[in-house]
């Protein structure tokens, strides 16, 4: 049976390999960075299992590793090498030679993922499923990457070392941005565990006149956006705002329809996701991937949509809720 853990181990091995290549090139900060990041992938299950048994030091060591990653990213020295014109000429020549065959492996990532997700429940070896149902989509994505890698090696007739080396080049180019989504989700968990959500909900409660429908709805909508901007994630904002404003004031006191409030309320939070650097995997990582000079370039391109959709959502809720 194929589990997500196998994909994590492969990923961990790739990170260790990238760390080794950087160490060989004398780029110590980058090497240390990827080596620490390999930890959760190679030892993640062991850390979780140990914690469940009451053994705390592996998780604490990982916690120290997280702090170490922060300090390393801040010290800099994590700059990737640039492109040269000679490489560009080689790329143009290869593109002419290989033509549309280059699209095959690239499209294999989405297409194989799609096929594995749809066919997954029917792929069985005797009684056991070939792909474990838990996190089947992510496992399928990982498998699709392996299949696509094999196809890419075949089409380009390159060696495995070249492929991994090119992967490492992109990883180095991403640098700390690659890590940011994971760290922000961690921060979300820390905020939840330290009671940040409850404190904000208490402040909101003190601030709004609860008798007014419009005031409650405005507080809910703007609260969803603001809290999503701070946490980088509408999923984190939703329970806080629902518990603080949505359920007690809008649903129970003013009789709002819970299904509509939940659905459009969540989408109001997504307007905040379009606006915030905290949603790094959507807003900062692509800016780095696309080599934009401004790290807020993607947010700049989408903020008008966010504002317009916030207005649409507010009006929809106003018409439909009560």
């Amino acid at each position: 049976m194929l589990k997500i853990e196998y994909i994590y181990w492969l990923l961990g091995a790739f990170l260790v390999w990238s760390a080794w290549l950087n160490l060989r090139d004398g780029r110590l900060a980058m090497a240390g960075f990827w080596a620490i990041l390999a930890g959760p992938f190679l030892f993640g299950d062991a850390i979780t299992a140990a914690l469940a048994d009451g053994v705390r030091w592996p998780a604490q060591a990982m916690g120290l590793g997280v702090i170490g990653l922060g300090l390393m990213a801040a010290r800099g020295g994590m700059r990737a090498q640039g492109d040269d014109t000679e490489a560009e000429a080689a790329r143009r020549a290869a593109a002419r030679r290989l033509g549309n065959r280059l699209f095959g492996p690239a499209l294999a990532i989405p297409l194989v993922t799609l096929v594995l997700v749809l066919a997954g429940p029917y792929l069985r070896w005797g009684a056991t499923a070939l792909i474990e149902a838990r996190q089947a989509t992510l496992t399928a994505l990982g498998l699709a990457c392996v299949v696509a890698s094999a196809a890419a090696l075949r089409v380009t007739r390159a060696g495995v070392a070249t492929g991994l080396g090119e992967g490492r080049r992109l990883l180095d180019a991403l640098g700390w941005a690659a890590l940011l989504p994971m760290l922000l989700a961690t921060l979300g968990s820390v905020f939840a565990a330290t009671g940040v959500g409850d404190a904000i909900a208490a402040l909101v409660d003190m601030a709004i006149p609860t008798d007014s429908r419009v005031a409650c709805l405005t507080a809910f909508a703007l609260g969803m956006v603001l809290f999503t901007v701070i946490m980088g994630n509408a999923f984190a904002a939703f329970p806080v705002l629902m518990a603080g404003v949505g359920l007690p004031l809008l649903v129970i006191r003013h009789g709002a329809d819970p299904a509509i409030l939940g659905s459009i309320g969540m989408l109001t939070g997504y307007c905040g996701t379009l606006l915030t650097p905290m949603a790094a995997n959507f807003n900062i990582v692509p800016a780095v991937l696309l080599e934009l000079p401004d790290q807020y370039g993607v947010i700049r391109a989408q903020w008008p949509n966010a504002v317009a959709l916030l207005a649409v959502n507010f009006m929809l809720m106003w018409w439909l809720l009560f």
Binding site: A59, A73, S149, L267
Partner: protein
Amino acid sequence: MNYWPLLGVATVVAGFVMRRNPVLVVVVAGVVSGIGAAMHPGDLLVLLGSSFVGNRALLLMVATLPVIGLLERFGLRERARDWIAGFRGLTLTRFLLSYLGLRQILSMLGLTNVAGHAQTVRPLVAPMSEAAAERSVGKLDVEERHRVAALAAATDNIGLFFGEDVFIALGAVLLIQGFYAQNGIELEPLTIALWALPTAIAAFLIHALRLVHFQRRMERAARARRAGGGAEEC
């Protein structure tokens, strides 16, 4: 009520406003928030470490890098550009609008990880958008290229966000249903999902208008450039 953990939020806001390294800002904010809640350092380390491990699925996009890197070295992005440039009647608006619709429909079917910034935007959608834009306005300058690429990434985000809420068996809808169930209100996932449709349609229409507007502005700028260039030659 202990308000001291809010210092963590203040740290985040201050860090992003001052454009400090985001990784450092986030780590410091976590530590500040823990100290504000008077957590024992050992407990804080456990919390940091175990949440970090728990969220490792978010790094899965790194698995696409070796494939994309290899294909790029053999000219994938150049080929994507040339291929799109050969289509007659294709404009930036039409291309990105098709991608937006496709992305929304895929997300509605729960296929959110099929596309994405590493999988599709960098290797295919961004270079194809540039080529589509160049078909109607001629060679782009560096700043225009960056704006078109940013717009391609924004299109991917909008298609993902305002499609996935319509899918019943995934994240958002289950979170909403779970919240109400905990509070004694039973709802069908399908009713929650259907109420996401009006916003999904609005998201498509608003982005369509913006794309039309963006393309018109680029065409105007290109005409002005050509006219200006002509005047200089006289």
